[in-house]
């Protein structure tokens, strides 16, 4: 990690834990340390426990603090806002970001605006956890990745951690120090992935972007699980062709570090944006804006963007596989971008070798 906002955080030694455990640990600590924290959401207290991220917490802290809710996204988001206004710190979960469309009014018109609209007299400290995902025929209504809708709205802070350290250091900071609403977007396929984090981590703001791997030939700006894809592609290109890909983890998509992105593009001259959603009006577009407003002259080639195909998500496997970027297509695009031509002769990974993380994922969800 270079230029990481957590440089100050890493202690000597480290430990390995899954993204899921990072979340569970963080949720547990929040409940244990702060009596005014509550977790609410459909199924937070059941045996599936939001992909395991709230497992055991209802038993430990009681169902008044780890509350199952009716199926009523708008209402429960409003309840969470009211609870925050009443002195609690609510953590509200949705097992699919798609369901948050039902709560857009509360999120966009109320939660995002309470502070400003009342001239700073009222604040809404709370965390909404939204799960995104992909694969296994989830289909059009269970596979979206709607971060750009949220990041468009001033008043919201939206993070998409690609690494457990953002959770372990950042989320305690949110609960203890930040008095506004934050949205955490978590990719389902990350839950099983293991990460190394400092043995002890001090709370620190998660509102940053960072270089996840330094390089000099091409810049990839990526979000969430796509950062892992980018790192794999970078590894492949380094070992097979000596191409050094710089991977920027955008992380805080609502407040991306424009200077960091620009600096990288100035260094490499070549940019590929890799996002979990559609390109149009998404992170792909926003990163282009950041560069266009600063140093478009630094670009020595057209920007390449990759995301979901411009369609709803189909369920059939053959279509679904084409719907998402895969490692082979990513490496191909990077090789073309880095070398400037198609006949670069760089070996591409098998279509079959695409992300074992995805391979390991098995329904039912």
């Amino acid at each position: 990690m270079t230029g990481a906002a957590f440089d100050t955080v890493a202690e000597p030694g480290h430990r390995t834990l899954t993204y899921r455990d990072a979340l569970r640990e963080t949720m547990r600590d929040a409940l244990a340390r702060h009596p005014h924290v509550i977790i609410l959401g459909q199924g937070v207290d059941d045996h599936k426990a939001i992909f395991g991220t709230t497992l055991g917490l209802a038993d430990e802290f009681g169902r008044e603090r780890v509350m199952d809710t009716p199926i009523a996204e708008e209402g429960m988001t409003g309840v969470a806002i009211g609870a925050a206004l009443g002195g609690l710190y609510p953590i509200h979960t949705h097992i699919r970001v798609d369901f948050a469309m039902l709560a857009m009014n509360q999120i966009v018109n109320l939660m995002a605006k309470y502070r400003y609209m009342f001239g700073g007299r009222l604040t809404v400290p709370m965390l909404i956890r939204l799960v995104i995902g992909r694969g296994w025929g989830q289909g059009a209504q269970h596979s979206q990745s709607l971060q750009s809708m949220l990041a468009h709205v001033p008043g919201l802070r939206v993070v998409m951690p690609a690494h457990a350290d953002v959770i372990v250091a950042g989320y305690p900071w949110l609960v203890a120090r930040h008095d506004g609403p934050v949205i955490s977007i978590e990719h389902r396929l990350l839950y099983d992935v293991e990460f190394r984090v400092g043995a002890e981590t001090a709370p620190a703001s998660p509102f940053f972007s960072r270089v996840a791997r330094p390089g000099k030939h091409v810049t990839v700006v990526a979000t969430s699980i796509m950062v892992l894809d980018a790192l794999r592609a970078a590894e492949h290109l380094a070992s097979t062709a000596g191409i050094q890909v710089e991977v920027v983890d955008l992380n805080c998509v609502s407040h991306p570090d424009a200077a960091l992105v620009t600096e990288s593009v100035v260094k490499t001259g070549k940019l590929l944006v890799l996002d979990t959603s559609w390109q149009a009006y998404g992170v792909c577009a926003e990163v282009c804006r950041l560069v266009c407003e600063r140093r478009p002259d630094a670009l020595s080639a057209p920007v390449v963007t990759m995301g979901m195909a411009p369609a709803p998500c189909p369920t059939g496997k053959t279509l679904e596989d084409r719907f998402y970027p895969n490692l082979r297509r990513l490496v191909a695009a990077l090789a073309r971008l880095a070398t400037g031509h198609d006949d670069h002769g760089i070996p591409l990974p098998d279509d079959a070798s695409q992300t074992d993380v995805y391979r390991r994922f098995r329904g039912p969800f």
Partner: protein, 311 residues
């Protein structure tokens, strides 16, 4: 204000009259464009706010709508801060960012108001959840119009409040209208009977211009809620004298009759009890004039306020 009241009636009268005179003053001021903001006036509906807030404690948390001048004032919101807010001044209740539709006075439990119909109803429920968790004595109050009950979130809010027996009062100001639509064009249910389906005890006050009566009905409900008996709903019938938004009358628009208005007006204590009006009006007018002067003398927000308190 060192005014001596001989009775609760007089004290409530004073407050209702104060709200009426404030809004009538807004009507006078509006053409000057000092207030460049839409206003949804409560003229005719003041008694609901006054009667209800009398039944509440200062620390009870109340959530309102875009039509909230009356509740803001009845709950104890500062008049100068309100007028300054309407004029977009830095001393306004929202620092000039709120306008008429987003008054707030958290120090007296007026927890904000929203221009999205029904959207603060679940906030009151959530505030009641916080009360329950934190073990405090206060209750929460959701104030909303008849039209707001049509939104899905109303159903969700009633259900959750009833399910957890939360200390929240649902207070419906039923003026029979949503903008220009009558109840018959919008609702297949009766508001009290509907709420009872969720197990909420309800009560209705037909005489919504009578603040004594409103106070009696709301107090009974508030007492039960505060005792921990779970949520309740009170419906107050009332009448909006002016157009939905703005300062004019609109009896010629075709959606309602002047006769209806006259009937409500005929029962309005603020119209009938002229002696009390004569006694109280001068002090109130003086207070309003001072508040106006304060608003006028107040500075505009600094330019950099545009980007403060965002996130």
């Amino acid at each position: 204000m060192a005014i001596a009241f001989a009775s609760l009636h007089e004290r409530l009268f004073y407050q209702a009259l104060r709200i009426r005179l404030v809004e009538q003053r807004l009507v006078e001021l509006y053409p000057s464009d000092a207030i460049q903001s839409p206003v949804h006036l409560s003229v005719g509906q003041e008694a609901v706010a006054v009667g209800a807030c009398e039944a509440l404690a200062r620390e009870d948390l109340l959530f309102g709508s875009y039509r909230s001048h009356a509740f803001y004032l009845a709950k104890g919101g500062d008049l100068g801060a309100m007028l300054a807010e309407l004029c977009g001044k830095a001393t306004g209740s929202g620092g000039g960012k709120a306008g008429s539709m987003h008054l707030a006075a958290p120090d007296v439990g007026f927890m904000g108001s929203s221009a999205i119909v029904a959207s603060t109803i679940p906030h009151a429920v959530g505030a009641a959840l916080a009360t329950q968790r934190l073990g405090t004595k206060r209750i929460a109050v959701a104030v909303f119009g008849d039209g707001a009950t049509e939104e899905g979130v109303y159903h969700e809010s009633l259900n959750f409040a009833a399910l957890h027996r939360l200390p929240v009062l649902f207070l419906c100001e039923n003026n029979g209208l949503a903008v220009h639509s009558t109840l018959a064009a919008r609702q297949a249910y009766r508001i009290t009977a509907h709420a009872e389906a969720y197990g909420l005890p309800t009560s209705a006050c037909e005489a919504g211009a009578d603040f004594d009566e409103v106070h009696r009905v709301v107090l009974a409900a508030v007492t039960a809620v505060r005792r921990g008996e779970g949520p309740r709903l009170v419906e107050c019938r009332t009448y909006r004298w002016l157009e939905h938004v703005g300062i004019g009358e609109d009896f010629d628009a075709g959606y309602r009759t002047r006769a209806e208005f006259e009937a409500w007006r005929a029962h309005d204590p603020l119209v009938r009890e002229t002696a009390l009006v004569a006694r109280f009006a001068p002090a109130i007018r003086a207070e309003i004039a001072a508040a106006e002067a304060f608003a006028e003398a107040s500075p505009w927000p600094a330019e950099d306020e545009l980007l403060t308190d965002v996130a």
